[in-house]
Assembly symmetry: C2
Homo-oligomer: 356 residues x 2
Amino acid sequence: MNKLGNILNIQYPIIQAGMAGGPTTVQLVSQVSNAGALGTLGAGYLTPDAMRQAIRAIKESTNLPFAVNLFCTSMQDDWGAVKEVQSVLNPIREQLGIPVPNKIPTSLDFVEEQFAICIEEQVPIISTAFGLLPTTYMRIAKEAGRKIISMVTTVEEGLQAEEAGVDVIVAQGSDAGGHRSTFNVSEQPMGANIGTFSLVPQMVDAVKVPVVAAGGIMDGRGMVAAFALGASGIQLGTRFLTTKESGAHPAYQKALLASTEESTVITKSFSGRPARGIRNRFIEQMDSSQIGPLPFPSQNTLTGDIRKRAAETNQTDYMSLWAGQATRLLKAEQTAEEVIRELLDEAEKVQGILFR
Amino acid sequence: MNKLGNILNIQYPIIQAGMAGGPTTVQLVSQVSNAGALGTLGAGYLTPDAMRQAIRAIKESTNLPFAVNLFCTSMQDDWGAVKEVQSVLNPIREQLGIPVPNKIPTSLDFVEEQFAICIEEQVPIISTAFGLLPTTYMRIAKEAGRKIISMVTTVEEGLQAEEAGVDVIVAQGSDAGGHRSTFNVSEQPMGANIGTFSLVPQMVDAVKVPVVAAGGIMDGRGMVAAFALGASGIQLGTRFLTTKESGAHPAYQKALLASTEESTVITKSFSGRPARGIRNRFIEQMDSSQIGPLPFPSQNTLTGDIRKRAAETNQTDYMSLWAGQATRLLKAEQTAEEVIRELLDEAEKVQGILFR
């Protein structure tokens, strides 16, 4: 066990990223933890009931530590440009055969209840995206003996996280798939996008807590490289999306396996927050319209019916296809446990052949 | 000597990037080669006479292999939007006290003469940016026993380079400073920007020739990481800009040493081709104007007087401050030889502590 393992009480310094919106099934999270790594439930979009249910199911499936990932950012809606944005979305709804909504939905803010459930349900590790836990939550979590992981995209954010008392920092490079964890997206609308290779050593030099590398890590080569750069652990998201336990839509998994390093873009079109995903028709239509998008969470709430219908009808053109920049290294038909074993075996070998 | 060393006949698998426009002095190139790595003259903007003079001076300073880097892209001017662009540039000229040019300059295309000089002067290694050597040049170079290195930004470009017969591929990640080497910038206006961490292993899996990693590599950690990812060598540009032998403007070097991982952007505003540099007033004025820029090389030719005057008057606001994303790792007051020794010493140590 290295220093990350000691803090999180896990055997291997490997974290499965807390991907919100479905991919992180109970089976995925518990199998990753049972394999000696850290499984993470991506709870950002879960209702309190669904979240509690998932946490209890995970605890029934593993006695080992797991994490629950929460969104720590304002959930205040801003519908300012909703008319203009609907003028882009309604033709898409028509095309997909979805009724045009007669009223504007409201984004639900679950984080207070979600946090309370993490404490009640004895969740050992809480990880955060988009920002830090509020001070009071941080104190409660610490007093309850929980470990806190925060994902950051700049050295400055890393220093803020350390100052706030987080136990582990995940340095998310621009190679990463999904949402950028950048704290202040009004200052950095497309997020801070520092390559994983550049971000990790600069973060390691700046903070004392262990740094976990995230973004573009897919195999044992990446694992060894991340440690060489000074990381104490690695976090993988995309690599787990095509495992047998992944909850990612089959058409999404197919798109991932067919994609290359050139397939992705960083877009705000689905959620209002910058995220890296495979370029598709929805992104092109939204971006070329030069309209909106609305800020997070409003854009995410407003596009929910479109993404839902796209999934029901297997139309990847209108799904969010979050993916990192190293998808040529993806494999199909593996279990999450096989992925972790393979990472460790490859890393052993890579270490041996360095410079040969 | 690893396989890269065998092909290029160098002791250490380290390449000093061929940064055009002044930084790669005769002293820098020859000292790097004398230290057992590969020095590169960035000849892109040199007149044939200046280039021949530099090559002869390098040969007087070292008996070891060195490289000359050429631009391989169309040098055809396109002045279509010159009036509009001048409307942005002329107020800047006024502010800097430069006369408004009464005629449009013409971009000079030296590559044919430059290539001929490389052959005549027995330049052992020719490296290319922006594209590949024309087929006839490639045949002549091969018949003359020269080695060819091409810098690429995607797996597809790497496969093209291998097909064309290059001996070594430099995989330039988006972390890299300076111009993106993307071949087709009409298709990818801001370049292909794949993080170094993601690009290297995907390139290594796709081609048979040795792959050199470039972008964000600053120290022994980066060297070990690049090899772990499958690279056979590393290329460093930014790290050499602040060495004692660097020809980079002192004010530019100061800006580099004061910058962070958040300081840079990819911009076409100086040259018409996408390049990563420290955000400054010129970039902000050009980008916020929403006008132009002209394509390369016309934009570069048109902004030449502004960059020249900015340098003469130490105004970094109007210089091109090319830089990668890991500038927190820069050091001052080192010789190029000290940088190479340090890289090798650090790499030794890093290898020993992996996973500990």
